[in-house]
Symmetry: C2
Subunit: 226 residues, 2 copies
Amino acid sequence: MKTAKGGLVLKSLKEQVYDYLRQQFQKHRLQPGETINMEATAGKLGVSKTPLRDALIQLEMEGFVTISPRRGIFVNPLPLAEIREFYQVIGALESSALIESFPSLGPAGIRKMDGLNRRMQKAIDAGDFDLFYEKNLLFHDAFVAACGNGNLTRIVGNLKKRLYDFPRKRQWIKEWEQSSIREHQEIVDFLAAGDPQSAAIFLRDVHWSFKVQEKFIRKYYGDAKA
Amino acid sequence: MKTAKGGLVLKSLKEQVYDYLRQQFQKHRLQPGETINMEATAGKLGVSKTPLRDALIQLEMEGFVTISPRRGIFVNPLPLAEIREFYQVIGALESSALIESFPSLGPAGIRKMDGLNRRMQKAIDAGDFDLFYEKNLLFHDAFVAACGNGNLTRIVGNLKKRLYDFPRKRQWIKEWEQSSIREHQEIVDFLAAGDPQSAAIFLRDVHWSFKVQEKFIRKYYGDAKA
DNA sequence: GGCAAATAACTGATATATCAGATATCAGAA
DNA sequence: TTCTGATATCTGATATATCAGTTATTTGCC
């Protein structure tokens, strides 16, 4: 329950619990296979089990946990096979979004993407992974948002939540980040040349190709077992 | 909670409530904008508000309802704009699934799709819309399932739930059904000719093109307002 | 010692009571 | 008559108690 009172936005307990748990994922405090104990967690958060359960149902729908009735609530692993699936889905959807957004992106939008990619390079040069990550998200968001398809944005966003919040072996791989920047530049170049189809195909078949990115993925997530 | 006891599969109350509500949608007993009253519904179903709320949280995540805190729970409309969004997403994902599944489909899989399409024609000839609908789902499921991407299947499936459970103006439009069958045949022909790329493009840009299908969509769903 | 049945403990699922925000209605003042 | 504040009602959100399936441990028999 979000209420605005004099500029304050009040969140329901359910939402606050959800945010807390999401943070736990982002901080890698919840590991695959781990159980979330209702009594203990509710006690720790100082709320009843009810909003906790509400939040967990949402997290289950989003793929983060599995509620195994009367047995326990388990943090889902993220096996390579599933990462492969995510890559396929995101590739197909972002590719579609890029084509759809091209008319409304225009030169200004392409310049914006180009600028974001350059800032990604600067972040790498400065060793600032958080900034790199932020600009990377914004690069993709530029055309996904411009596509104007809220459902597509939601679906892609949720898969990315799973990809990025999952505990990983390494914080970053410079080679991968450099490679991403080169790929982004390729996409921008296609767009600037007025060829969204080639940009979309490159985005789908290279940038979001599990096969192409596999060597980095394995380093980054480790060879996670299901 | 699904438990198997001596072959019986027992469902939790939450699941049963969810199934009931889904049925209500399928039977068009729940209309856009309508409210679902917790006390009344729980009383009617003979359960407490808890499993009802659990089910509603899931339905909200799936887009069927909006839980407006402390105000009410509203059945979501399905405006044409959203249908358009769904068409784009499904088109992109099914297209991707078709390419991915082609190697494992093989001649047998293509024949199966062909057979399903012929049965769709027979259903039309016999005026049996339920059978048509069933074979239509199976036609698409054939390559979506063969793609082996559970997440893609789940995402597409959920969007189709929304499309097919939504109340509509007309039960069926023979012209659209005939058109679908022709389009399916086109896809099958491309596949049989060993050209999944053309099949995928046709699937995405014709079969799942909102623009191409718009005249039927408007007749079928009515000109629903948001 | 091994196995099966009984019992205890654990844990999530559900029911009920209470709370709390939103909305409608009423009463009083201008 | 209109407006504002107070009160009542409605409805979902949350807390607490209890239930019920699952798992672990104990007990008794062979």
